[in-house]
């Protein structure tokens, strides 16, 4: 099921198809993300960008095509056997995901949330996991919130904990699914600056976002999707500043394109 590829890209998606019932959400998608690359996926709601992101870590199982992350490749469609739960789990452990609604574990403290992956999945000793978790919390500027429950945190803090939780698995790839869409405007900046910091450290990332200015700043490639197909793809600045396609232009006209990053505060 897994094979080593000589390709240098970290993520490689070929001819990906996915339907929910009669609704074809992804139609023959191809995508490559270089090691250390940051790709932003933009597009109107219902364009399939979140489904595409979820196909990368197989939270959504595609109907056809193939997905490769690092050295692990899965093929789907006629004749292909669906991967079993253990294979899937092992694969997902190498990718980190951050959700729109944080999905923190409310019955655990912040520290326990971040320790959960290392302890349960990587079978790390509790003490080692705690050291790692505290380091990740410090990285997102929330070291002093370790013993609080998620319910006591602001939206921006919750999302930074969620990022720390994903990073604690020391993933090869980070996937962001509209990570700032559920936040109050004044809290967006602190989350974006954490993501930007990750980009500058060379983390391979795929970011589904509505923050066009942020995408322009942080992503090196930008993909505009609509109705399950890639309409336009290219260097982020080029696509945003000079879109070739009319559909891309129409979509981007809904946004202010100042190119400026929202102010970062709260992150040390």
């Amino acid at each position: 099921m897994s094979e080593t590829s000589k390709n240098t890209s970290k993520i490689e998606i070929r001819s990906l198809r996915k339907s929910f019932g009669s609704n074809e959400v992804l139609k023959n998608i191809n995508l490559d993300v270089a090691k250390g690359g940051v790709v932003a996926l933009i597009g109107p709601s219902g364009s399939g960008k979140s489904t595409l992101l979820r196909c990368i870590n197989l939270l959504v199982v595609p109907d056809g095509g193939s997905v490769r992350v690092g050295d692990t490749r899965f093929a789907f469609g006629d004749g292909a056997k669906l991967p079993d739960v253990t294979t899937l789990a092992r694969f997902r452990a190498t990718t980190g995901m951050v959700f729109q609604h944080f999905n923190l574990f409310p019955h655990m403290t912040t520290l326990q949330n971040v320790m959960e992956g290392p302890v349960t999945v990587r079978r790390m000793a509790k003490a080692d996991a705690e050291t790692l978790a505290r380091a990740q919390l410090a990285k997102v500027g929330l070291a002093e919130k370790a013993d609080q429950y998620p319910a006591t945190l602001s939206g921006g803090q919750k999302q930074r904990v969620a990022i720390a939780r994903a990073l604690a698995m020391e993933p090869d790839v980070m996937l962001f699914d509209e990570a700032t869409s559920a936040l109050d405007p004044e809290l967006v900046g602190e989350v974006l600056s954490v993501i930007q910091q990750l980009a500058s450290e060379g983390m391979t990332m795929v970011i589904v976002t509505h923050e066009i200015a942020f995408a322009r700043e942080v992503a090196d490639r930008l993909i505009f999707m609509r109705d399950g197909i890639v309409i336009e793809e290219g260097p982020a600045r080029q696509v945003i500043d000079n879109p070739r396609e009319a559909a891309t232009r129409a979509f981007l006209s809904h946004f202010h394109r100042t190119g400026a990053l929202p102010p970062a505060n709260a992150v040390s």
Partner: protein
């Protein structure tokens, strides 16, 4: 005007204590076995496999939709004839009450599990947990909190349902008090005392559970 005389019950104290012991012991057994059946029924009804789902559904509805008194009599009298399984009154009533309680626990447990936001299992899966690990570490700890009031309620009903085993001559508190009432010609005092005994056990329990709930709610 009726002249109450509770003093007369004192001479039957060992009979009552004996019966109370059987009632409490019985409750412990049928609550534990019932929770086990409930867990099986809940996981069965949430299974990916159709056959398992249908089996669980058949079990739940068979025991939820028939009267417990009929089930007790059926397990004791009908099973030996139909299946050739001989059972003592205690085994028959323990089994019937456990399955009956289990059918209700199943629905409580299933409801608790499905009430947890899908995002929680997705977050577990995204970390690389198997479905089993996600269930144990993420979903169940949250779901159990929500289930506790309903599970407690059902267990209270189970405790009181044990009084029905007297029809199979299992010497529980109600059965022993029947003996005492016939012997003393004081049914009013006897059954009043029995009612008080049930309440005296249940009310402190409900208070403890209510306190526990509050403590659990702190982390929400």
């Amino acid at each position: 005007m009726y002249q109450w005389d509770f003093g007369i019950l004192w001479s039957y104290r060992w009979l009552f204590l004996n019966g109370l012991g059987v009632t409490v012991g019985f409750t412990v057994v049928i609550v534990l076995c019932g929770l086990l059946f409930g867990l099986l029924g809940a996981f069965g009804s949430l299974s990916r496999f159709r056959a398992l789902r249908l089996t669980a559904l058949a079990f739940i509805e068979a025991f939820r939709c028939t009267p417990i008194l009929v089930q007790l009599i059926w397990f004791y009298y009908a099973l030996p004839i139909l299946a050739g399984v001989e059972m003592t009154p205690i085994t028959a009533s323990a089994l019937a009450l456990s399955l009956y309680g289990g059918s209700f626990y199943s629905e409580i447990i299933r409801g608790g599990i499905v009430s947890i936001d899908r995002g929680q299992s997705e977050a577990g899966a995204a970390l690389g947990m198997t479905p089993g690990q996600t269930m144990r570490r993420i979903v169940l700890p949250q779901a159990i909190k929500r289930m506790i009031p309903a599970l407690m309620n059902q267990s209270i009903i189970q405790f009181k349902n044990t009084s029905l085993v007297s029809v199979l001559a299992v010497p529980d508190l109600v059965y022993q008090s029947q003996v005492a009432a016939h012997d003393s010609y004081r049914p009013l005092e006897t059954y009043t005392a029995v009612a008080v005994a049930y309440a005296a056990i249940l009310i402190p329990l409900t208070i403890i559970v209510r306190r526990g709930e509050k403590r659990l709610a702190v982390s929400e």
